[in-house]
Amino acid sequence: MLKIKNLKADIDNKSILNNFNLEIKPGEVHAIMGPNGSGKSTLSNILSGKKGYDVSGEILFENKNLFELETEERAHKGIFLAFQYPLEIPGVNTNIFLKTSLNAIRKARGEKELDAIEFLKLVKLKAKELKFDEEKLNRQLNVGFSGGEKKKNEILQMSILSPKLSILDETDSGLDIDALKIVADGVNSLRKKDNSFLIITHYQRLLDYIKPDYVHVLMDGKIIKSGGPELALELESKGYENFN
C-alpha cells in the first residue's frame, strides 16, 4: 500500500529525515517510536503533503507517486492524518465541516454525496460508538474543546471518512486512560484486511491497546531498528538513550 524509499527531507537546510525506508502492506499496523526531534511529525506531515520541506526519494501510495498529489488529492485517495495538535477553526460548525469533508472525498471517488439526513444518521452512529458528545458537533470546530475532545474528534473524522491509510501522530499524548481506551477502540474497530495504520508515538502505552504488527525505532531521521510488538517493550525499559 505504502512504499517509502530513500526519503530525505530538509527544512531550512537542516536535515530531518535521511535515508528513510518503510513499507506498509494492506491490513498492517505499524508503529513508529522515537524521541523528540527524531523526525516523527515531519514524516506524517510529508505523507499528508504539507508544504515547506525539501524532499527527495520516493513515496508510492498504491503505486502512485505521492509527490505528484496535492494534500486534498491524497485525502481523496484515502490517506488520513490524525493531527498531533488539531487546529481550532473559529466560525466553522463541526457538523458542516464534517459533511463538506466527507462529500468532497466521496465526490472525488465518484460516489454519491450524502444529503443532510443521511449524513446526520452516519455521524450520530459514529459519535455514539466513540462516546463523543453529540452536542459538540454543533459547535465551532475544536473551539473550546479539551485536549482529549480534540483527539477524539480526530478519530471521529477518521471513522467517518474511512481512509485506507490512517496516520496517527501522537494521538495518545494528552489523553487520560479512559479516553485512550476509547480512541484505541475506535482504531481497532476500523482494522480491516485492507485498512492500514501508521501509529506515531513516544510511549509504549497506546500499543497495549492497539496491537501493532511491526514496531520501528526512529532516531536522527532514520529507522535504526524494526521488530514486532516486543520491541516497544524493550524500548520502554531501556529508554531511547541506551538503545542501539
Partner: protein, 415 residues
C-alpha cells in the same frame, strides 16, 4: 473648483423653492464649506483617508448642481425579495417613493420639508456641504408605544445617467418612547464617480430600540460619506451593523451619545474589500451618564491593494461611572499590498469603568488551511471556509433572525 461651486450653488437656490430663513442658513453652511473645503489628512479624523485627495483623484469635474425636478423610474428588480418591508426609495438623490404599507397609518409621521436648524458646534465640513445642498430634508417619526410590524428599507439607487455629481441626502428619524424600528439601508449603484454625502440623525427616546443595517455590497466607483448622529435616552438600545464592501470609497462615521442611564449601543461591521477599494469606519461612542454600555466588533478581509480603516473612540464622561465599553477589530490580509489601519482611542474621565480594546491583523493561517485540505477540501474551499468562519462571528451578532439570514444570503454565507 471654488468658482464652479459658487455658480452651482446659486443655480441650485434659484431652481429650488426654499423659504427665506432656509436660504439664509444654507448660505451660512455654504460659506463654512467654502472656507474649510473637503477634509484632508491634516485633520486627525481623516489622517488615514484624505478625502480631498480621493475626490480629486477619482472624480473629474465634480458638479454640485443636479436637476431634481424630473422623476426617475424605479428599477423594481432591486427590491429585496422574500422580505416584507416598508420602502423609502431615493433615485439619483431624488425621493421617489415613501411607502409604509404594513403599518398603522397614524403611528408613523413623515415630515418632508424640514427647515434646517442652525448647525450646532460642528466643524465637519461635509455636514456644511450637506446642509447647503440638501434639497429635501426628511423626518420620520415613530409614535410612542409603536413597534413597526416590518422593517423599513431605504433604497439608495443611482443609475447610469449620474456622473460626477455631488449628491446630498439628509434624514432624521425619531423613535418616540417605547417604540422600535428595524432599518435596512441598501445602496445600488450603476452610476460612475459621484460623491454621495448622507446624513442621518437618530433620536432614540426612552425604552426604544433601533436596529440599523447598512449594506454597501454592490461594486461601484462612487465616493461616499455617511454621517450618523445618534442620541439615546434611558434604557434605549441601538444596534448597528455595517457591511462595507461595494463602493470605491466609503467612510461611515457614527457619533453616538448615550445620554440616558442603561442605554446601550452595539456597532458591528465587516469590511470585504478587493481591488483598490478604501473604506473606513469611524466611531465616537460617548458615555455621558452612568451605567451605559457599548460594544464594537469590526472584522475585515482585504484583497489586492485594498485598504480598510477603523478608528474607534470610546469617551467616558466623569459622570459616567459603571460604564462598560468594549471594542475589538481584526483583519485578514490576503495579500502583502493590503493595508489595515486601526486606531483605538479611549478617553476616560470616570474611575469606576470597565473598558477594553484590541486589534489584530495577519494573513490566513496556513496550518489551518493544511488541516482542512488534509480532510479533502481544495485550497480555495479551505480558504473560503476559513474566511466565512472569520466573518460569521460578526454576522451572528445580528439579533434579528430574518435580517441575519438576508445578510448571510447577500454575503453568500449560507451554509
Amino acid at each position: 473648483m471654488e468658482e464652479q461651486l459658487k455658480i452651482d450653488f446659486e443655480k441650485f437656490l434659484e431652481n429650488t423653492n426654499f423659504s427665506k430663513k432656509n436660504v439664509e442658513i444654507k448660505r451660512k453652511n455654504f460659506n463654512n464649506f467654502i472656507e474649510k473645503g473637503f477634509p484632508n489628512r491634516r485633520e486627525e479624523n481623516w489622517k488615514f483617508s484624505d478625502l480631498n485627495q480621493i475626490i480629486s483623484k477619482n472624480i473629474k469635474n465634480l458638479s454640485f448642481y443636479h436637476d431634481l425636478s424630473k422623476p426617475n423610474k424605479i428599477d423594481q428588480s432591486i427590491f429585496i425579495d422574500g422580505l416584507e418591508h416598508n420602502k423609502l426609495v431615493f433615485v439619483n438623490g431624488r425621493i421617489e417613493k415613501i411607502e409604509f404599507d404594513y403599518e398603522e397609518k397614524n403611528k408613523i409621521e413623515i415630515l418632508d420639508d424640514l427647515v434646517l436648524e442652525k448647525t450646532k458646534n460642528t466643524n465637519n465640513s461635509l455636514l456644511f456641504l450637506n446642509n447647503a445642498f440638501v434639497s429635501k430634508y426628511f423626518k420620520i417619526i415613530v409614535k410612542k408605544n409603536y413597534f413597526l410590524q416590518k422593517p423599513l428599507v431605504i433604497y439608495n439607487i443611482t443609475n447610469k445617467d449620474l456622473v460626477s455629481k455631488s449628491i446630498n441626502l439628509k434624514v432624521d428619524i425619531l423613535l418616540e418612547e417605547n417604540s422600535s424600528l428595524k432599518l435596512i439601508e441598501l445602496s445600488n449603484d450603476k452610476s460612475t464617480t459621484n460623491f454621495i454625502n448622507i446624513n442621518y440623525n437618530f433620536d432614540i427616546q426612552k425604552n426604544s430600540i433601533l436596529k440599523n443595517y447598512k449594506i454597501d455590497n454592490n461594486s461601484n466607483s462612487n465616493i461616499k460619506y455617511c454621517f450618523n448622529n445618534i442620541n439615546q435616552d434611558t434604557d434605549s438600545v441601538s444596534e448597528i451593523f455595517l457591511l462595507s464592501s461595494g463602493s470605491k470609497f466609503i467612510k461611515n462615521e457614527i457619533n453616538c451619545n448615550l445620554n440616558g442611564k442603561y442605554a446601550s449601543a452595539f456597532v458591528n461591521g465587516v469590511f470585504i474589500l478587493n481591488e483598490t477599494k478604501h473604506h473606513e469606519i469611524k466611531t465616537n461612542i460617548n458615555h455621558i451618564v452612568e451605567n451605559t454600555k457599548s460594544y464594537q466588533l469590526i472584522k475585515g478581509v482585504l484583497e489586492d491593494t485594498s485598504k480598510a480603516v477603523y478608528q474607534g473612540k470610546i469617551f467616558v464622561d466623569s459622570k459616567a461611572q459603571k460604564t462598560d465599553g468594549y471594542q475589538l477589530s481584526k483583519a485578514i490580509l490576503l495579500n502583502d499590498n493590503t493595508e489595515f489601519n486601526a486606531k483605538p482611542e479611549l478617553e476616560i474621565y470616570a474611575d469606576d469603568v470597565k473598558c477594553s480594546h484590541g486589534s489584530a491583523s495577519g494573513s490566513l493561517n496556513e496550518d489551518s488551511i493544511f488541516y482542512l485540505m488534509s480532510r479533502g477540501l481544495n485550497y480555495q474551499e479551505a480558504k473560503k471556509l476559513l474566511i466565512n468562519g472569520f466573518l460569521l462571528d460578526v454576522i451572528e451578532k445580528i439579533t434579528d433572525t430574518e435580517i441575519r439570514n438576508l445578510i448571510k444570503n447577500i454575503m453568500n454565507l449560507k451554509q
